[in-house]
């Protein structure tokens, strides 16, 4: 129909439609970026686990918000033995290595945590390390000595004895020269050193050390309680949300439309059955059914999508489409089609359905975000997909960890903003399309 193209061309005259289209384009661009920049397997690894996020701080806020305040807060700083100078002596069958990890600490705020990761390679005899902290002024502080396993995490900031000696939590005490109990501790900026003296008992044995001084802020959207970068979830949540919303909207609209058209065309008991099924289905509560299935069976997002579509087929839309199709059924062109021998399927799919498609486009567009919200609601209720990172799951975690009580507002605002942008974009476009395709709303 030409009015299709004309209608789309008319969109330019509606500022809300242009804004909506921009928001949708932004979301689509984000989705494409997420899928290409972070491949699915990578995203799963970043979100699900293990070593991938040991370098990220816990519950760090977004870095750009700190920058608005002047950029005082500490960022994460790392120092690795790969870049460090190593002196080695050998005597009496043992080798003694001295590794000096240097790092510049130039921030106004204290770090959130200090960890040392040690990976050693040995046959049977564990190496022995002795750790010394050297401040910019040259003061030395003994941090302890220990045997080292194959992989070891030394949580310096968790050291109770060190905290007792310093009078501050270690991540504060190590970076200040303010004596405890006098005033607020101030950061001493400069180059710090961690001296690792290693005693190796084997010829081939080696040791890798990584010192991580965790910052207070991280990335665009901060991190959560499991050190996961929220940026990954918010980026990857976009294609998941768009795909779910779009597939659910397409699935329900197309099937509903065809069934409504078939009911109108065949009439009689076919129509009556469809109408009664619809009336029963309308009063079935969708969300509790989804909760039940999620609890008893599986919370896979694809299963949820299937259930949403199946329960959406005999939805209230059938009543609306039926009302629109009843006059179409009486059209002379349908009678003409019967007279030249068109089949029932052809009449339904090619002559009846296309007639009301333009009017359906706005409904379809505004339907997409409702399914996005439905998926988020399920996730907030703890029925999110077990594998995929989604906006709703971030909100669920935030709620479970009392994010707002603890002041981690970014944890809630990030996904909520994404959801709102999605809703806003599709709603603004949908309302404009409604004005274009629905003649009754078009004012003179």
């Amino acid at each position: 129909m030409t009015s299709w193209l004309e209608g789309l061309a008319r969109l330019r005259k509606y500022p809300s439609a242009v804004a909506g289209l921009l928001l949708i384009a932004l979301l689509i661009a984000t989705a494409i970026y997420a899928v290409t920049a972070i491949p699915y397997s990578e995203a799963q690894k970043l979100w699900r686990g293990g070593d991938a996020w040991q370098d990220l701080p816990v519950n760090a806020g977004p870095a750009w918000i700190d920058r608005l305040h002047g950029g005082e807060a500490a960022r994460t700083v790392r120092a690795s033995s790969d870049d460090a100078t190593i002196r080695e002596d050998a005597f009496e069958g043992v080798r003694v290595q001295e590794t000096v990890l240097e790092l510049d600490f130039e921030y106004g705020g204290f770090p959130s945590e200090v960890n040392l990761f040690l990976n050693s390679d040995f046959e049977s005899r564990q190496p022995f390390v002795r750790l010394t902290w050297r401040t910019p002024d040259g003061e030395e502080l003994f941090l302890g000595a220990r045997r080292v396993g194959a992989t070891e995490r030394v949580s310096i900031s968790q050291d109770q004895r060190l905290e007792g000696r310093l009078g501050y939590p270690p991540q504060v005490g190590l970076f200040t020269d303010t004596p405890p109990g006098t005033s607020e501790p101030a950061v001493r900026q400069g180059t710090y050193e961690l001296v690792i003296e290693t005693v190796q008992f084997e010829e081939q044995a080696s040791l890798e050390a990584d010192l991580v001084i965790y910052g207070q802020v991280h990335g665009l959207f901060g991190t959560d309680h499991q050190r996961r970068d929220l940026t990954v979830a918010l980026l990857w949540g976009t294609p998941v949300a768009l795909a779910f919303g779009l597939l659910a909207a397409v699935g329900t609209t197309v099937t509903t439309l065809i069934i409504a058209a078939a009911g109108v065309w065949y009439g009689g008991w076919v129509d009556a059955t469809i109408q009664r099924l619809t009336e029963v289905n309308i009063i079935l509560p969708l969300l509790p059914i989804l909760v039940m299935i999620g609890t008893l069976y599986s919370t896979s997002i694809w299963l949820m999508l299937g259930v949403v579509v199946v329960l959406g087929i005999f939805s209230a839309g059938i009543k609306m489409y039926r009302a629109m199709l009843l006059p179409v059924r009486q059209s002379p062109y349908i009678e003409a089609a019967r007279a030249y021998g068109a089949s029932n399927a052809r009449i339904i799919l090619r002559y009846m359905v296309p007639r009301i498609l333009p009017v359906l486009i706005p409904t379809f567009v505004t339907l997409i975000p409702t399914y996005v919200f439905l998926e988020a609601s399920l996730a907030v209720l703890g029925l999110g997909d077990p594998v995929l990172p989604t906006w709703g799951k971030v909100l669920h975690d935030a709620q479970a960890q009392s994010a707002l009580y603890h002041g981690f507002y970014y944890w809630v605002i990030g996904p909520a903003a994404m959801l709102m942008v999605t809703g806003l974009g599709f709603a603004m476009l949908g309302f404009a399309l409604d004005r274009i395709f629905n003649p009754r709303l078009r004012s003179a």
Partner: protein
Amino acid sequence: MTSAAQTSPAPASGQSSLLDVHRLRTHFELRQWGFLRAGTVHAVDDVSFQLNAGEAVAIVGESGCGKSSLARTLLGLYRPTSGTVRFAGESLSDLRGGALKAYRARVGYVQQDPYGALPPFLDIRRILAEPLIVHGIRNRQEQERRIDAALEEVGLTPATDTRGKFPHQLSGGQQQRVVIARALLLRPSMLIADEPVSMLDASVRVEILNLLHRVQQDHRLALIYITHDLSTVRHYVDRAMVMYGGKIVEQAPVEELLRHPLHPYTEALLGALGDPDPQNAGRFRAVPGGEPPSLVTPPAGCRFHPRCPIAQKGLCDSREPSTRTPRPNHPVDCWMRE
């Protein structure tokens, strides 16, 4: 049209008729609450007539007399309640599947509302391709060839100008030409035109009627021209039938009917025609009043008797008139004509 000869179907012999309608009844049940019988609409009630190949016949009657129901029954869109429709010797109610589809290809249909008869969301090329696709002609070049030929035949030249347009971009007359082109595409042997000009501007009515007449002549089509307007009948058909209250009350060759109307209803229809003679301006003519008969509870006896100026009490209001032939080739259902 030179292309006419090649597209015309094999001419039927003059002896056996192409269409034979025998005691056809199409009734509709009225129901209350979906199942209680509340009455029956006698839309087509005991109609019989024959139509030869290449013959044009008009069915004339006022709104609600059952003309369109008759057309739809002949097209196989309504199932007849009783009676038979034989087309080229085959009974329409026996046709199933492929045979019914073949019948639909042999009968073209031109409707009253040209804009409504064309799907508004398809362009003309696609609209005309649809019947071809339905009947298995999927070769694109073959489609193009036949579409262009049909468009040119109905006077939409050059065809390339029209093909890409949508129905709303055409005038009413052009739309009706497209409808006629569509009816001709499958090379039918019979055309049913249900009030083809009543929704058109007066200025294009004659053009469309001339076009219908020309294609009817060129293709030797049997034509059933349904109208409420006797004035459009004279030059275009061979025979006219007058329908009243679901029945055919009079039929005759068209000149005979116009000159010697026998049924009082036919006389009334003729009397309602405009009179171009200025001498008669302002002269009052006796036209029977009253309303068209109810098809649910038709009047007893002759259905025209409540409005008839010559009805006889005790006869016309109690007994249905039988068919008689007071003039040769001119049967009429009226007690008062012998």
